[in-house]
Amino acid sequence: MSNEAILQKPADAVVTHGDHREGNGHSEHHHKETFISKYVFSMDHKMIAKQFLITGIIWAIIGGLFSVLFRLQLGYPNDSFPILETLLGKWAKGGKIQPEFYYALVTMHGTVLVFFVLTAGLSGTFANFLIPLQIGARDMASPFMNMLSYWFFWAASVVMISSLFVETGPASGGWTSYPPLSALGGASEGSKTGMDLWLISMALFVVSSLLGGLNYISTILNMRTKGMSMTRVPLTIWALFFTAVLGVLSFPVLLSGFILLLFDRHGGTSFYLSDIYLASTQQALPNEGGSAILYQHLFWFLGHPEVYIILLPAMGMVSEIMSVNSRKPIFGYMAMIGSLFAITILAFLVWAHHMFVSGLNPFLGSVFVLLTLLIAVPSAIKVFNWLTTLWRGNIRFTPAMLFSIGFVSLFISGGLTGIFLGNSTLDIHLHDTYFVVAHFHIVMGVASFFGLFAGVYHWFPKMYGRYLNNTMAYLHFWVTLIGAYLIFWPMHYEGLAGMPRRYMDFSQWVSFNQFGDLNRFISIVSIIVFAVQLLFVFNFFYSIFKGRRVTTSNPWDSNTLEWTTPIRPGHGNWPGEIPEVHRWPYDYGKDGREFIPQTEPVGAQETAH
């Protein structure tokens, strides 16, 4: 219905002539398009997706570079690197990273990768790109809000970047920003201006996520093309839908927590601050009755769903890519949706497992243990469904497929350690050790990155009408997969031995200086893996301009609707009518046919899925 109205012009204005020769369909859909309206303040969901992706790539380079810097410190605590002083000035006096700056690096690494790369860069990119294309819509429910969503993200990025350049440095209280460290300007250098900028940036980021999420939900529920019932949408759409639901319901609570924190910082309130004694002023604070735990509740009510906001889009894309490249229907379509739903519900009920050692009532803790371990059930359903999709498939090992398989591998490895950490008793020993670092990097960080890479390799031809270079892609995959395991696997042992997070130098600590060589090894591998990511970035930008051209509209022989558009679709996606859908998207290898697109009517003799 209002699909056509969304573009605010009659349908025939979008129609171009039936000629879709390469590079042709792109420029002629819109006559009044200027550079500004096409590339900058674009309301085309595909352009906004690319904006999110490229901004995300820039952030990923920055965030990754931060980790290289602090890995240098962890691997070589006794050496100095004069180049660091040249680059960082007073933050690396004498070529050694200063403690304040070390914390700033860790904080910014977490913030940037969790929010700016794996939330905005991942779901921002693929929700924008895939939702209208895969459900058969001209654009989002509100293209304008969609544009605002990107520009709020951009504003958040600018504020966050600028916090790197203030005199007292960026926020350094950890990506969770627990008070009192984050509430007291005097607590550390990073708790001064840097912390305020961090909060402002995050508030803008929340607005961006909400604007995006609202749009994704109403687009999925209201703008599907004829015949596209909810049991016929690809699993990517289901995953992006639940991601948006999680974001819309949990980000506002984080914002509430931030508002109270801002008042504690500048308004003199005592929401989180109590009469603690400060070493720097030799006095107790005037505040009374505040509860730092209150912040943790508000933070983790978002913080845990955030893990799934990051992971679900990757799961959805992996399901889709795996089915296409196994040439088999996804195993257990309804079970996949059901498990996504179960994860979404459970995501809201497990936040206190981040707070087992905060003085939480142990009886309450045991409830959260139970709920946390329940997540293993839908997760296992998903893993078995992926494995059974691969089973006896006619697998094409495209780069996207390799990254999808890599995702499943990492999700299993990282998920299993979640069972350790979900137990409140084990958590007494394991909390705040490298075991936790290893766990969440594998299961959430690297796994979601693999989902992101899989998505980029798979949909790059649709985005830019060209392919990425395969040689570089295979090199990227193998080095990243092996590297990720080499980096994070040893951290489990360090963590089990009790080695704590957030320390910048273990060389003088007798219990842990046995890990000196191991830490150096991890650091060397991280630098190699980082270099290979730069190779991917090169491949990405090189291929936009010089990649091999796509010559067929459906290069992966896929069933979904995005491959029924021209090679380079204009604003409005389909030059003519939006195609009607007659079947689910996973009819691969059915009735002796390799693939049957969703647009093909169900035959007289054929049983529909």
Binding site: S218, K226, S250, F263, E288, G289, H297
Partner: protein, 190 residues
């Protein structure tokens, strides 16, 4: 699974903008749910001071309830294409909205002048922040109503499109109901 509705797109669906609004309201509810649950948790902490609301907030409650009524009748008038009545009622609603904000400000002033400042950790600090944020949401509604007000008086727009009117009036009812919730919350839970 072959029983799925083929005529799915022919179903009468909600306009996406209206639907977006509903989802957005869910999001706003979560924000205030977060704040009020923080209030409940905080109440058990030592040195909690309960707050008594001044009478002014009863007046503002009456005003916002009345404005809900006027926006409702304005919507009905728009539906009947009775534009004169619609214009008047929209103007009254905008006025009542502004009056609500003024009354909230007066209420804040009364509390502030009785010595209840931001330092401390009782109900009043929550009240300032929660009512303040609610006020910001009301302001957003007033801006939406003002846009409709300008549209109603500008000559070129002779549009009888119900969607913007319905979106604005739904939102207005929402901030009203949200206020009733917050008001009762602060009355009952001390």
């Amino acid at each position: 699974m072959d029983t799925v509705m083929i005529n799915d797109s022919q179903r009468k669906k909600m306009h996406p903008h209206k639907f977006t609004l509903w989802v957005g309201l869910g999001s706003i509810i979560m924000m205030f749910a977060g704040l009020t649950s923080a209030y409940i948790v905080k109440r058990d902490q030592p040195s909690w001071i309960a707050v008594d609301m001044p009478l002014t907030f009863w007046y503002s409650t009456a005003v916002i309830l009345l404005s809900s009524l006027t926006v409702h009748t304005a919507r009905a008038a728009f539906k009947e294409r009775n534009m004169l009545k619609y214009r008047r009622l929209i103007s009254v609603t905008v006025f009542l909205g502004l009056l609500f904000i003024v009354l909230q400000y007066v209420g804040f002033n009364q509390l502030w002048n009785s010595g209840l400042r931001m330092n401390g950790s009782g109900g009043v600090q929550f009240l300032y922040i929660i009512f303040g944020l609610h006020g910001l949401h009301v302001l957003g509604g007033i801006i939406a109503l003002l846009v409709m007000f300008i549209n109603a008086y500008s000559r070129r727009s002779r549009s009888y499109n119900m969607v913007p009117v319905e979106v604005a009036s739904t939102y207005w009812h929402f901030v009203d109901i949200l206020w009733i919730y917050l008001f009762v919350f602060f009355l009952v839970i001390k």
